[in-house]
Every structure is written in structure tokens, then in C-alpha cells.
Amino acid sequence: MRSFRQFLLLAFQALLRNRTQAALAMLGMTAGVGALVTSLALGRGAQDALDEQLRAAGANLIVVTAGNYAVKTDTSVDPEANIGHSLGALEPRWEHPAGAPRAMRAAFSGRLNSQVRDAGFSDAVLRVDESGLEDGFVSVHFEDDPMAVHDHPTAAQRLGDSSAGLGSAATLTRADAKAIAAIDGVRFVVSGVHENERIFVQETPLHRQWFTRMHGTEADLPQIRNGWTMVYGHFLTKADVDQGTQVAVLGRVVADHMFGKGVNPVGQTILLWHQPFKVIGVVGSRSWADQPAPGDDQFDAFYVPVSTIDNLLNLSKLNNIAVTTTSVGDTTKVAKAITDLLRQRHKITQAMPDDFTVTSVAQQVLGKGLSPALARMVTGNMASVDNMTVASLSASLKRTNRTMLALLGGVAIVSLLVGGIGVMNLLLLSVTQRTREVGLRMALGARQGDIAVQFVLEAVLLSVIGGLLGIALGVAASGSLQKFFQWSAVVSPLSAAMAVAVAALIGTVFSVYPAQRAARLDPIEALRHE
């Protein structure tokens, strides 16, 4: 094989001798490989599109919420006596989103668990500490309270109530979130604290305020919210969350209200709890279907590091933990693993109900632009979006693409065959032109195999060059289909490599006949050939 380079060089020279014919033969290969790459890209794109749709629809999203809505227990049960058990009856009004956090505040302000329910409805006690107002900032440190036990060995010993309404129970901690992140198949874990807060801009001339949703969150949230785009600046960084810096990302609606439409508020300061928070970004929606509107939870809202809330309020409890799985098909499995882990961490025995609720969010697919057929299939399997469901979804989507793919595949095969015939034609020409040379090489000791390899190599070289150009063509074609027709096309390196391999194979197959013809030449006749 050390003479391989010489043979390759020879093949190259032979191709150069018949430039026009070589270019035409190559064109066939290029068209064939281009069509092949494109059809593979469209097939792959369809697959990815399905997965992406399911992902975007939240099919891989699991939300762990503090508390357990499903549990109904006797109101008369004494919390202290009922260790580890869910406490209290669940009044419908407690589910009000704003109600729950208030209840938590009220709990410490009253410093008595028994007062929680009563105090919860009084806005008057909100943010009122025994120490009173200090420099305009109310320090809210209910976990500083020596009476409060915040080590959560069981649900019952916690402040709050495991059945106090979804998200309001103080049963989830950031340590839980960290533990969930270690589960196999988990992609992103984002802790969440959700409250309604009033924020201010003090600088004249704005001097505005807005009562809106506050989300204490982590840097990975945008990874979960596929529909988001950063209008200005950037989202919270990991460093922000690690260090608990006082920065905020505003929802589009909030930014528009506080600083005016179309104004970049990055670098400005808002006041929350009379503390300055630097604005570092604004989030908006990427989707026309989900435009920011006053009152919505995502964009009429602002985002601060969950750790900052912890620092300022000493509030290590979470309302919920959002988890995404790496694969849509793993959702059920991961949800089960989370349940097991949290029960273990919260020391919940078999007889006791969960003090948290795990929901996978497959329901949302209905509202997110999936075709009705797909949505029905997803929601029909809501409880267990498992591999089987995903496989059947893929099958249904593939059916819709089958005609198109068959057509393109057919074009690819026909083009490759035409390319192969072109290669064969070129080689036959080459054999005729080089008969004398073949005779000479035979006289000098070339075996039949050496001669055949020479011509096969010529064909392979031609096919591979044609194939590489074909990849470029395929990438360009896939790109334009995506750009102008919004077809999803993904060129994978594997499919490109495969296409060139197919081209080389076809080149080889079609070179067999000419190569054989050359190898079987009679050296004497060949030497006499003019």
C-alpha cells in the first residue's frame, strides 16, 4: 500500500485528462448525493421536529410542588401530635396563588402556628415584624425565630402545612432540588419561589410602581421555557444564583410599564422590599402564539435569584421545583424516581401520603399548537408519556412525511444510478485511451489486480469528490427548504458520511466492468494499440 499514493496520483491525472467527461460524471454523483443528503436531513428533521414539539409543549417537564392537594385530613388533628402527617384541611380559598405566601408571612408575624389560618387573610399583618419597620425595610426572618423549627425532619414539624394548598406548604428545600438534579435522566432542575410583590422605580421622572409576580428562580429557567427570548440583556447567571446578588430580570410587560415601551432598562435599578435590584435583562416571547400580556405569569413578572430571596428573607423553602428530563420518554420514570427520593428525604413512611405533588405537564400540549391528533395521543397518555407513546407519535408523524421522503429517496437513487452510469462511461473511455499504457504496465509486471485497482481507484476518487460536492449541495438544499418552506431538515454528520460512502460504493460497483475489461486486455495487443 506504500505505492498507494502513486496510484492515487495516477487516477487523478487520468481524471484530469478527460476533464469534461469527468465533470459530467461527477455532476451525476453530486446530484445523487445531494438528494440523498437532503432526504436524510428531512427524515431526521421530522424526527427532531416531533421531539422538539413535545419538548416545547412541556412533555418532558415535571413540576414538583410543595404540599399535597390530594390529601384530605381531619381539621381537628393537632399538628404537633400528628408528626409527619399532613396537616389541616384544605380550604378552597387557600389555593389562591397569593394566599399561600401570605399565610407563610403571617405565620412568622404571629409567631404562632395556630394563628396561621386566621392571620393569612389579613393584609394588614403582611410584612409586619415585631421589630417594626427599620429604615423602610422590613426584615423578614421567620426562620430566625427560635420557635420555628426549620430542619424539616418530617412534614409535620415544619412551619406551614403539607396540605396547605399547592405550593404554599413549606416542604421543599433547595437541598431537595440539588438531590433531584443527581437523578439519572434529569436535564435541568430549577427551584422556584413565587410571590406577588410590589416593585418601584424611584428615579424621576418615572417614579412608578407595579404590583406583579415575583419568581425566585435559577439560571437554567430559560432552558425550560423554550418560548422565551431575551429582549434586552441576559438572564440570571449561575454566579448570580450562587452568590445571591441583587439583580432582576423583568418580564416584557413589567419592563414596558416601569420604563416605557421600547426602552432598554438594563442597568437601571428597581426597588423590592426597599432594596435596590439592578435590572440585567428583559424576557419576551419568541412565539406569536404566546404574546406577553398584563396578568400573565411569565411576562407580567420579574425574576430574581432564589438565593437572594433566601438571603434577604431567610426563606429557604421553595414553592416548587421544575425538572426537565433529557428524553421525553423518560418522564414517567424520572417522576417516579423523584417521588421515591423525596419520600426518602422527607422521611415519609409507607403509610403516609406525600407532602409534595409531582405532576408532569403533558396536559399543556393541547394548548401549544400540536396537531389535534398528536395532542389527543399525548393527553390520552398523560399519566405516562413513555417510550411507547413517543414511538407511536413518531410513527404517525413519519406517515405524513412518507410520501415526500419516498419521492426524494427515489430521486436520490435514480440520480446515483445515473451518476454510476456516468462513471462507467468515463472509465470505458479511459480504458480505451490508455490501452497502450495498460499494455506497458502489464509488460513491466503489473498483475491483473493492479490494473483493475487503478481503474476502480479512479472511479472511487471521482465518486468521492462528487459526493463531497453533493454534501455541500445537500446542506444548501436542506438550508433553503428550511428557510423558504419552514421544513425541518437536519443534516447529521453521520448521514453525510453515509452518503459519501454510498457514492463510493456505487462508483466501485460501476467501475467493476471497465476495470475488468482493462485487466483482461492482452498485453501484446494492448502494446500494439495506437
Binding site: 506504500r2 496510484f7 491525472q13 502489464m442 513491466l444 509486471g445 493492479d450
Partner: protein, 248 residues
């Protein structure tokens, strides 16, 4: 042991319904170091003889022993190997590869030798062969940059490169003028004298045949005469001596 030993070689071609008896029983021994000229008019069978001697063709009947080994019934690939290792060809039309340097042309037989030599070794051997024919300074010239005589000497270097026991020259001066013909014949003579290489020359010109040590005349597929010859010196008065690279 003779280098070449032909025993009752016949060769019959079938051309349609006609049978052509190209050779009708040729027996012949050629010893190492001989410079044999085979002469005869066209159609005498000398070309067929050369093809069989060169292992390019197999006899219809009879035996051909090359260095004691019967090669008359070997496969095509086995014959290719023998041509590669034991026979060097010099053709009338030079048969050099165009757009390929003299050195690379000389290297071609080495590409088909198994086991294949490393590239550097191939290059060195090709260079040595070129120097042997006095063309070491033309190694990177393409055939179209060389004169006819130089081209034929490149072809001789190519025939020498694999150190064969036999050089077969088929009308090597057919395309050359007198002066360059003498150059080429002188090169062949020197190879025999200094390297002891056996040379078989096929020609239809009596004055070219006269450079050999033995002249065999062929006619109608049979040996007409076979006699020793005092080789004619390749030193015509009007021809300036060709500088030869120092050999040995």
C-alpha cells in the same frame, strides 16, 4: 545452466478459419552474458519468439525454461511477476509515460514488485539505473524534454531497475537515426560487458544485429541459422563518444 532454454516451441494463431503457424518447433539455448541478435523479415516469427521469450505469451506446445524454471504454462499473474523480476523490456516506441519524469518512469516496475520497496529505496534504485545509462542529470525531465536517444536510454534504465537476468530489446533503434542508434547499441554493449547482463535483440536490420555476439536468423517460424559473431564496435568515426557514467 543457460538463461533461456527453448525446447520445440510451437505457436499457432487462429485467425478465423485460418491457422497461422508462427513458430514451428524452435529449440534454442542462450547462456548468461550473451548478446543475441535475432534477425528476420516481418512474418518470420521473430516477434512471436520475442513475445514468448518475454513471457508476454505462452507457447502452444513445447517448453520454455527461464533460469531453469518452466514458465510455459504459468498463469497470467505468475508471468507478470516473472516479467517484473527477471526480464527488462526495451521497445521500439520507447513506451515512456507522458507527463511523468524520467525518474518516475524508471520507477514504474518497482511499483509492481512484491513486497513493495519503501519510496526512498525505489527512488534510489531508479536514480542508480538512470546514472548507469548516463542520464543521472536528466532525472526530472519529462519524456518530451528528451531526445529520442535519451528517451530510449531512459527505457533501458527502466528495464534495468529491477536487476533482471535478461533484457529483451524489440527493434530498439527502429525509431532512431543512425547516430543515436549507435549510442543505444553502445549502451547495450556496455551493459553486457560491464554488468554481464544477457541481452536478446530483435531486429530486421543486419547492421544492427552485427552488434551482438551471436546472430540467429529466423524465417517462416524456424531457425535458419545460428552463428557466433564478433561484435561490431559501436564506435563510428563520425560519432562522438557518448559520455558514460562511471560504472564500477
Amino acid at each position: 545452466m543457460p538463461v533461456i532454454s527453448l525446447e520445440a516451441i510451437t505457436k499457432v494463431y487462429k485467425l478465423g478459419d485460418n491457422q497461422v503457424d508462427a513458430l514451428r518447433g524452435v529449440s534454442l539455448d542462450i547462456d548468461a552474458g550473451e548478446f543475441v541478435s535475432i534477425v528476420g523479415p516481418s512474418g518470420s516469427g521473430k516477434s512471436t519468439m520475442m513475445h514468448i521469450l518475454g513471457c508476454l505469451d505462452r507457447p502452444t506446445d513445447g517448453h520454455y525454461l527461464l533460469n531453469g524454471k518452466d514458465v510455459s504454462a504459468l498463469s497470467r499473474d505468475a508471468l507478470a511477476e516473472i516479467r517484473n523480476r527477471q526480464i527488462g523490456f526495451v521497445f521500439q516506441g520507447f513506451n515512456l509515460l507522458p507527463r511523468t519524469t524520467a525518474l518516475e518512469n524508471v520507477e514504474v516496475p518497482l511499483l509492481y514488485s512484491r513486497p513493495i520497496l519503501p519510496a526512498a529505496e525505489r527512488r534510489a534504485r531508479a536514480m542508480a539505473a538512470l546514472e548507469m545509462v548516463g542520464l543521472g542529470n536528466r532525472a526530472d525531465h519529462h519524456p518530451n524534454q528528451l531526445s529520442g536517444g535519451q528517451q530510449q536510454r531512459v527505457a533501458i534504465a527502466r528495464a534495468l531497475v529491477n536487476q533482471p537476468s535478461l533484457i529483451l530489446a524489440d527493434e530498439p533503434t527502429g525509431n532512431l537515426d543512425t547516430k543515436t542508434s549507435i549510442d543505444v547499441m553502445r549502451t547495450l554493449q556496455e551493459l553486457r560487458e560491464k554488468q554481464g547482463i544477457t541481452i536478446v535483440l530483435i531486429t530486421h536490420e543486419a547492421d544492427i544485429a552485427a552488434y551482438g555476439t551471436r546472430i540467429i536468423a529466423v524465417r517462416d517460424g524456424l531457425i535458419l541459422s545460428d552463428k557466433a559473431n564478433a561484435p561490431r564496435p559501436a564506435l563510428e568515426d563520425e560519432v562522438a563518444p557518448v559520455p558514460m557514467a562511471a560504472v564500477n
